[in-house]
Symmetry: C2
Subunit: 265 residues, 2 copies
Amino acid sequence: MKHISSRDNPLYKRLARLGDGKRDGHTMLEGIHVCQTWVDRYGMPELALFDGERLAQNAELGALAQALGSRVALSCDSRLMRNLSQVEHGQGVCFLVSVPEPLRPASVAESCLWLDRVQDPGNVGTLLRTAAAAGIHHVYLSEGSAAAWSAKVLRSAQGAHFSLSIYERVDLLAERDKLKVPLIATALAQARSIYTLALPRHCAWLFGHEGQGVQPALLAAADERVFIPQAPGVESLNVAAAAAVCLFEHRRQWLDQAADFRNAL
Amino acid sequence: MKHISSRDNPLYKRLARLGDGKRDGHTMLEGIHVCQTWVDRYGMPELALFDGERLAQNAELGALAQALGSRVALSCDSRLMRNLSQVEHGQGVCFLVSVPEPLRPASVAESCLWLDRVQDPGNVGTLLRTAAAAGIHHVYLSEGSAAAWSAKVLRSAQGAHFSLSIYERVDLLAERDKLKVPLIATALAQARSIYTLALPRHCAWLFGHEGQGVQPALLAAADERVFIPQAPGVESLNVAAAAAVCLFEHRRQWLDQAADFRNAL
């Protein structure tokens, strides 16, 4: 296996340049779990860089390196790996991969999550994780949202990326016509309490920018505006917390209906 | 007003040392909104430092400085303020305050939030914000949780600190006897679906460490263990998202009962 000892190595420089965000459709994955999941779902990375010291000690890393083969797997000095790592205790392996860009369905007939300029990577990651846990499979992000495959989003999402189809830089307003399910937006004004609403089996959930909420044109295009009844004088939930409440209220209502259906049989 | 131009000034050094965490029972607050709220709720800070340039231009900052008086209000060079600031665009004022340490109630008869070693400051901040929005007034944090009045937690909580009584470094197991309401913990095993449970009007909600969950001894002391039904094969929610689901399911059930009660009148 080729070993890199200099930070001037062009392959190493390419990874280092990716830093915390994706560039030119590429991103860096970090850690054995996420890298292994990548291989299972998408196959070979463009490049895999292993911490040489750890590689010698860790059977799991060794097996991954062997499976990848010497065309993509390289090792490097520990100090180079530490320099690359976004987390405090590096995990011995980084992948350079090209970001998946799934084709958007021509029409959308199942529940999905729409994010309008949600900027904080931690929020976007938590939203992806919550969506996956709620049984949603498709997430649409507008221009101006945090890059879904950046290191910080990957970290917060804890693997949710791999059970979702994630569409980025989507013109949500133009996408509106493809929706065959109701579009439900959270809003503070002219909205109904989510707890008084019988939610449809499938819908598109729309959440907006941390400070400004959903942009007016999109809000106007929604079929329903909902709010979460909060304690008087507080009225403020983090966008990812609000989405957790909505997506799981949806799940609760549907689980109830499923139970009613089973009971009626 | 006294003006500081050197980073060797002892008062400035004291603020700078606080950095991102609290030390010796003190913390740094940043921004006009949080500082103003501090004055409204707790009165004078020990020290208030204003960005001299901004102070001259901004009437709101000027009014605050005047109200505080020259005994606590100082100005400094903009570059010193930028060096102190935890946020990208500083907001012109910092307070040095002693962290509120409210006395714990001798017995607890209303809903509250218990956090067992929740480590991420962003999670703790979001949990505080969600608790306040759900109408909870008391939050207990164990040893090993993120410091509630640190800059990162304050930033995520968006002012929730000021509508809560926050108790830190609490021995939660020892506190158990003071609870006159059921203790409900989230757990993955031997737990009931939160959606099948009629939640009591008041309870103590217990959430645990991001990776390990609630520690076994505390879990054993809980009156009820609940889980949130998730999509098969995913089974993972961020702790702050899980708390949002639980606290607002609680709120939903109680709002329902309140509506039933009103309807019955």
